[in-house]
Symmetry: C2
Subunit: 252 residues, 2 copies
């Protein structure tokens, strides 16, 4: 198989590493990818760590990465909220709350919902519901079903977004994958066309189908949260590889 | 308007009382309804109080009621689980947990989800998700969007059911309203046909549309959680009244 893409967009967790452990061959692959000279971007819905921490941890694992190459769903949500002058009720993980410190939050008129873990309790979800029921928009950080953690499968933000949407009879605005606007933002940053960009991820819906729907090429890896049967949701033309190290690089 | 029903099925909260306070005219209405001699049944998705407590509180408010007339979603769920020999992970309100004491619960092979309030935290919902993702069925106690409490609108179990269904890619079995099987169980107990039974409730979806879909007559009251605009979801032929005391009784 030859590579006909010019920029590579990589999901992080489950593609390059699991927890704090690099996936077999991923560090060496990343070195080869750098040598290819093609633009690299990192595209993640992770909402439990600030962007700077994500880059630090990647470097500690041996991956070369810069903040400028990293596109996170929380930062996209921040820009959406700030540009519209919204005042969010931030139901997000405590570790990313500082990323929203510059946004006014008293008397909230929207709900920002992310992978808030223990903050996703009945009291907080009910507060969010009341705002939504009164007409506030819901802004979701990603729309994933589950993710793979060191301890196993973990319920992700999408479940809470879908539940609140249903209860309040509304549709959320999704920041991050699989939002086409989010993919378009990353594509624009590469200076290339969407069709020249390849997105690789372990989430067949949010990563692969989302990217293909946004006009990119898509590739599913059989690591991370991948489970046999996921291929059935694969969009036409998308490729599947066992691990990121199998990805054919241009010119190789 | 004349009454062409032979048995009356009443939702409780929002129809006869709000919290511990009878709705205006409801106690006098119930006395007249008793005098009509027609069968009465109480049909509730309440999953925060044992059936005996519900009857006690009704009596304290001045409503004549018996356990035999009361059909609750938790009891329907109990019978469903016990008759199939299932071992539930009970994510229910602590106050109704004793109603499931006779059912084995170690090494669970199904998830029972109810209005568990503070038990609906991330840790417990994630435990439920893992069971569902591994193939266990989800049994929901009711499928309501929200309910009206003394403190205002409250997010109901349906949101958590819908969220888990979506994340695990499954369909829940719903016990209680709006399940047609649940309405059929109450109808059978009256000895009448579904078309001779009138269901009155403040939830246009779970009470009124659910009953009509199950072949009963339906009536929406503009008390409890009712909000202007709810009429748009009213099924054809269903009636609307401001309060339960306006309901026309047979022979009056």
């Amino acid at each position: 198989m030859t590579a006909d893409w010019k920029a590579l967009l990589l999901d992080l967790s489950g593609v390059l590493f699991d927890g704090r452990r690099p996936i077999d061959g991923a560090v060496a692959f990343m070195r080869r990818a750098r040598q290819s000279g093609r633009p690299l971007r990192f595209v993640t819905n992770t909402a439990t760590k600030p962007a700077a921490t994500i880059v630090d941890e990647m470097r500690q694992m041996g991956f070369e990465a810069s903040l400028e190459e990293l596109f996170t769903a929380p930062r996209a949500a921040h820009d959406y909220i700030a540009s519209r002058g919204l005042r969010p009720y931030c139901l997000v993980h405590p570790s990313i709350r500082p990323e929203f410190d510059d946004v006014p939050q008293t008397d909230p008129n929207c709900v920002l919902l992310g992978d808030a873990r223990d903050e996703l309790n009945y009291r907080n979800l009910n507060r969010a519901f009341r705002l939504l029921h009164a007409g506030a928009p819901l802004i979701g950080i990603g729309l994933n079903r589950y993710f793979m953690d060191e301890g196993g499968m973990m319920l992700d933000t999408g479940a809470f977004i879908r539940g609140l949407e249903w209860a309040a009879g509304i549709d959320a605005v999704i920041m991050g994958k699989p939002s086409a606007a989010f993919f378009a933002q990353v594509v624009a940053d590469t200076g290339l066309s969407a069709g020249d960009c390849l997105m690789v991820g372990d989430d067949v819906v949010a990563d692969v189908a989302g990217a293909v729907a946004a006009g990119l090429q898509g590739c599913l890896v059989r690591t991370g949260k991948f489970r046999p049967g996921d291929e059935s949701a694969l969009p036409q033309g998308a490729q599947v590889i066992d691990r990121i190290e199998e990805l054919v690089l241009p010119g190789s």
